[in-house]
């Protein structure tokens, strides 16, 4: 478990917002200087509220978005480095790194049959020897995600949301990847189907030794599937740790808030629990607050938090957080 598959250093992604004659060109700082490592065979969960940059981080890691700055290293080889001006051709890496999107109906080309969608990647990476082999591969892939062979000739709109997401997963698996970014793969699905898909992802991981970056806004799902969890706030990583440790002993004030909002099945316990409510809105990533980005809403914010940005530091074994309060003990 200790082999590093993917390593990112100070990765940033800004989106330009068009300025005009009277307004200067601005940037949405969607991801700001995030560093983390993903180990072979693990599932790293990534949580945070809407708009905190989880999805952007996921897409930037596999370079669907071109990073603004930073370094990405895959299996020891740099695939992007802004300082050394490295930006390798991604085609060979598209075989190794795949992504499952949030909205299954939007992420499948409506003009193509399921067979074509799954088969296209096989053609691009020349993974099959002939027509018959191609058919067999598509059949096997559909089978793997619990779809029938005859589904190959149908169009995406003829399927339910859960089935569409299975097509999306089969499509990602087609190139036999090592690493998959699961970008909120279950958020758009019915609750009854969510668990099926999560279980399937877990089974596939066990059978194929896959590594996942699992993005979700629902910490209870992430807690279930992940080995480690990273918490993001306004484009930055604020806490990172082992799943159980992070959920039972959150040390960053934002993580504590997030966890206190998870509904409990037992109403007695739920009533007894103290919910931490944050005041104010999430600040705009166009103009993020200086110092600690959380200081505008943090109940414990001090002068130092307003002035100085905290760095991510280790406070327990493998448990990192970025908060000034922790340094003071």
């Amino acid at each position: 478990m200790s082999d590093i598959l993917l390593k990112i250093e100070n990765l940033s992604k800004y989106f330009p917002v068009k300025g005009n004659l009277f307004r200067k060109k601005k940037y949405v700082q969607a991801v700001e200087s995030v560093s983390l490592e993903i180990f072979k065979g693990e599932t790293l969960g990534l949580v945070g509220e809407s708009g905190c940059g989880k999805t952007t981080l996921g897409r930037t890691i596999i370079r669907l978005y071109e990073p603004t700055a930073g370094r990405i290293e895959y299996d020891g080889t740099p695939i992007y480095d802004s300082a050394q001006k490295i930006a390798v051709d991604m085609l060979p890496y598209r075989r190794k790194m795949q992504i499952i999107f949030q909205d299954p109906s939007a992420s499948l080309d409506p003009r193509m049959t399921v067979g074509e969608i799954v088969g296209e990647a096989l053609d691009i990476h020349k993974l099959c020897s002939g027509k018959k082999d191609r058919q067999e591969r598509i059949k096997a892939l559909l089978d793997e995600v619990g779809l029938n062979t005859e589904h190959a000739n149908r169009f995406p709109h003829e399927f339910s949301g859960g089935q569409q997401q299975r097509v999306g997963i089969a499509r990602a698996l087609a190139v036999e990847p090592e690493f998959i970014v699961c970008d909120e793969p279950i958020s758009a699905l019915d609750v009854s189907i969510q668990s099926q898909v999560v279980n399937m992802l877990e089974d596939l991981q066990r059978d194929k030794g896959l590594t996942y970056l699992f993005i979700a806004h629902d910490i209870s799902v992430v807690r279930h599937i992940s080995n480690r969890i990273g918490v993001m706030y306004l484009g930055q990583l604020v806490e990172l740790g082992e799943s159980y440790e992070l959920c039972s002993h959150p040390i960053h004030p934002y993580t504590q808030t997030l966890l206190s909002a998870v509904p409990l099945p037992d109403p007695e316990k739920s009533r007894a629990r103290q919910r931490i409510l944050l005041e104010g809105d999430i600040p705009s990533p166009l103009d993020p607050p200086g110092g600690c980005r959380f200081h505008t809403r943090c109940p414990y914010a001090t002068e130092r938090c307003r002035a100085e940005q905290p760095a991510l530091k280790e406070y327990g074994p493998g448990h990192y957080a970025a908060c000034h309060l922790l340094e003071q003990g």
């Binding site: 897409r59 999107f101 939007a106 992420s107 499948l108 296209e120 691009i124 990476h125 169009f155």
Partner: protein
């Protein structure tokens, strides 16, 4: 599918019937008569009216029109080519073919040039080429056909003398150039604008990201994934354009002296040549209806999500 087409044909007949009624009423609402000249006396007009049945009550005249149309008879011209059958004027004297040729070439040009221009603009969004194309297409949509036609005429026929001033019955390739360009320029620009907008819409869709994640190359991404998904609005636009391009060719046909149907249509209205007005209107309406049907069937081919027959639920 067959049931759907049969249904559409029945509706098409009813539509044509309605169009005939409206055309008839409008024709008769306009003052004047095909026989009214400076020299004609009231007796002469009355005699001519009696000869062609124009003295009968209006509902009888309308009924006669419908009856003869059902028999495939489009009537005879009252004035412009007195006594000649209208179907002969439209189809056998080459008027329809001339307009159709111009129209088809103009449409082809609009599609072949317009769609790629739209793709280029969308792909290079915000860059100078996009800005250039935006200005060009906006100008193209705004400039009236007669201005463009005259400019072409002055430049290439009068000053440079590369092309003939009179295109006539389009005897050679040279004579096509200016009429086709002036006829299609507006549509080319419009198609380019339309393609750009719907292409930009498609490019931002998730399935384009999926394709990129698969490793699809940029060219295939644009042609295979984005373009196919952005053609619907363009196809919708092209159906009515086909008919419009033929009737709308009046200005172009006049400027380049092409004796086509568009020109003849307008002249027939000015001359109150009732049977000719009626026949041209019906023929062009039928063309619009057929093109709309073709467009609806083309939808089905372009987008599998569209079902032609209504669902039962």
């Amino acid at each position: 599918m067959t049931g759907y087409i049969v249904k559409r044909i029945v509706v098409a007949f009813l539509t044509l019937l309605l169009i005939m009624c409206i055309t008839f009423l409008l024709m008769n609402a306009v003052p004047g008569s095909p026989f009214l000249t400076e020299k004609s006396t009231p007796e002469m007009i009355a005699r001519a009216n009696a000869k062609y049945g124009l003295d009968k009550p209006l509902y009888v005249q309308l009924f006669n029109y419908i009856k003869s149309y059902l028999q495939g008879d489009l009537g005879t011209s009252l004035k412009m080519q007195e006594g000649t059958s209208v179907s002969r004027i439209i189809f056998h004297q080459g008027k329809f073919t001339l307009s159709l040729k111009l129209g088809v070439y103009a449409l082809l040009l609009a599609v072949i040039i317009g769609i790629p221009l739209g793709c280029i603009a969308a792909y290079n969004r915000g860059k100078w080429i996009d800005g250039f194309l935006r200005v060009m297409t906006t100008v193209g949509v705004a400039v009236p056909t007669f201005v463009l036609a005259t400019l072409l005429l002055v430049t290439f026929a009068v000053k440079l003398q590369w092309l003939p001033t009179l295109s006539g019955s389009l005897p050679d390739a040279k004579s096509y150039v200016m009429p086709v360009i002036s006829l299609s320029f507006y549509y080319t620009c419009y198609v380019a604008k339309l393609t750009r907008t719907s292409m930009l819409d498609a490019i931002n869709q998730d399935y384009i990201r999926t394709a990129r994640a698969k490793g699809v190359k940029t060219r295939a991404l644009i042609l295979k994934h984005a373009l196919r998904n952005s053609l619907i609005p363009v196809i919708t636009y092209l159906g009515p354009v086909m008919a419009g391009i033929i009737t709308g060719s009046f200005v172009v046909e006049s400027t380049f002296s092409v004796p086509g149907l568009g020109k003849y249509y307008v002249q027939s209205v000015l001359n109150r040549d009732y049977p000719v007005i009626m026949a041209t209107t019906v023929v062009l309406s039928a063309l619009v209806i057929v093109m709309n049907l073709v467009v609806d069937i083309a939808y089905k081919i372009v987008d599998p999500r569209i079902t032609l027959t209504e669902k039962e639920d």
